[in-house]
Amino acid sequence: MSSEQKDTVTTISEDVMEKSSSRRSFIKGLSLAAAAGSAALATGCIPTANAASSEEMKLRWQEFFKKNYRLMNQKEKEDTVTRLERLAKIQDDMYVQVGHEAPIEKVLYGYAFNITRCEGFMECVTACVKENNLDRKTNTQYIRIFEMEPGKLDPSTGNGAYFHKVPVDDKFYMGTQCFHCENAPCTKACPTKATWKEPDGIVVVDYDWCIGCRYCQAACPYYGRRFNWGQAEVPKEEITTKQHYLGNRKRPKGKMEKCTFCIQRTRKGRLPACVEACPTGSRVFGNLLDPDSEIRYVLKHKKVFRMKDELGTEPKFWYFID
């Protein structure tokens, strides 16, 4: 706030406090103070950088007051992704494509993980970090791979921090990530309705409506959610520019984020990055509503189990053995 503005505010408040105030003068003073305050808001509060262009300010203002994604109509969705693309250009000098592809009809995504085949190379993890623009500084990862003792099926008994040549004889490897439960407890915990299950079964977060309370993280029995304590730091040349509003776009600081089955890919028919990267073919992804899909073959012909099945969360993520 400039010294001039400060002076105005002080004189106004002195006026209000000291002079015998009539109703008229009080309201006059109040409106002046409000005007000074909103000027301060416009110049100082919302844009942090002094050099913020008026276009950036306008876009950030509009972004600040947009609706929850589920309440937006098609026009509003288009407007917000256009604003986000423009802001990426202004702020980071990046050309990104933010999509808002709707769920495909008659599709329910399902995932299967072959614990016999996985050998713990963790290429899924690096692919996921790259695809979803995850923070390199804190080494945020949506996927965890656990080195397991034979006979144990609970990842909490495994070693999630191994770093040696793999596979080790007599160990097996088990991956976890968000399981996109049909009956997802995390979505019920959210006080702002910022997380929900899409019609194609993907549990998503509206990063702009998330208030960062982390109730959902506490509600998830699978440790599937990650909280970002700061703006993700990604080398500019490594940023994935094909993005989705509910997926890998730039997340503000202090938001909850998670695996979205790579919504920016899967809604265009592509495989998630982890499936594409897996060198052993341990990961199977497909449409549960298609009786001819690979995932349905696995469910029909393989011995499958789900993690903490007894909780009734109905994860759409099955483990199977050959």
């Binding site: 713990g120 690096t126 770093f163 052993t280 199977v284 509503l289």
Partner: protein, 207 residues
């Protein structure tokens, strides 16, 4: 007398509790079957070609000679990746210089396939006469692009899973026409087991 009354009260309390427990259990079972039912009771197959953004794969593929869940699918072709194919351009009756022997005798191929100490030999898979082809144990000529037919004679479980989709993986897209990796796209046929190596990254403990 007192204990008798207590027992009566106890029974009275247990009865509604039991009803509640059974009702809850029934509810849980019902909701579980409902989810599986929505999956299984889909009317008609899903049209995989309805996903508009799917692009045809750019790699060379061939149509698999065996069906997949009643339909046909494609597999990555192999021949274009074999360095010195066609083999018959060298395997002829013409003479070879001794000094080129090292290069031409496939000295770089190390076989680690089969039981240790009793590894497979070349002509266990390669055709003994026509080097442009493979040969299975029944003496059928097999094209390099269709090597799954050869591998499947021993690894029949893997082949069954591969046909169905539980072994191996699709190329790029879950939708669209099914295109999968070939056996030799991932496995080196001379040494099919994946080598031990360091993982691509590491994880830090959560929280």
């Amino acid at each position: 007398m007192k204990t008798h009354i207590l027992q009566c009260i106890g029974r009275l309390h247990i009865a509604p509790l039991l009803v509640l427990v059974f009702w809850c259990a029934g509810f849980a079972v019902a909701s579980e079957s409902a989810f599986i039912d929505t999956i299984k009771n889909q009317d008609g197959p899903f049209d995989n070609r309805s996903v508009a953004q799917v692009q045809p794969v750019t790699e060379k593929t061939v149509l698999v000679k065996e069906p997949y869940q009643g339909g046909s699918f494609r597999v990555l072709a192999r021949k274009q990746d074999i360095e010195r194919y066609k083999c018959s351009s060298c395997h002829t009756d013409k003479n070879v210089l001794v000094k080129k022997g090292q290069e031409l005798t496939h000295g770089n191929v190390v076989i680690s396939h089969g039981q240790e100490g009793d590894e497979l030999g070349c002509i266990d898979c390669h055709h003994p006469e026509d080097r442009d082809f493979l040969e299975d144990k029944k003496g059928r000529k097999i094209d390099f692009d269709h090597s799954y037919q050869l591998c499947g004679q021993c690894h029949f479980r893997q082949k069954r899973d591969w046909l169905g989709g539980a072994h191996g993986k699709r190329l790029d897209y879950w939708a669209g026409d099914r295109v999968v990796y070939n056996c030799a796209s991932c496995h080196d046929p001379h040494s099919p087991r994946f080598e031990k190596r360091f993982p691509a990254t590491y994880s830090v403990p959560l929280n």
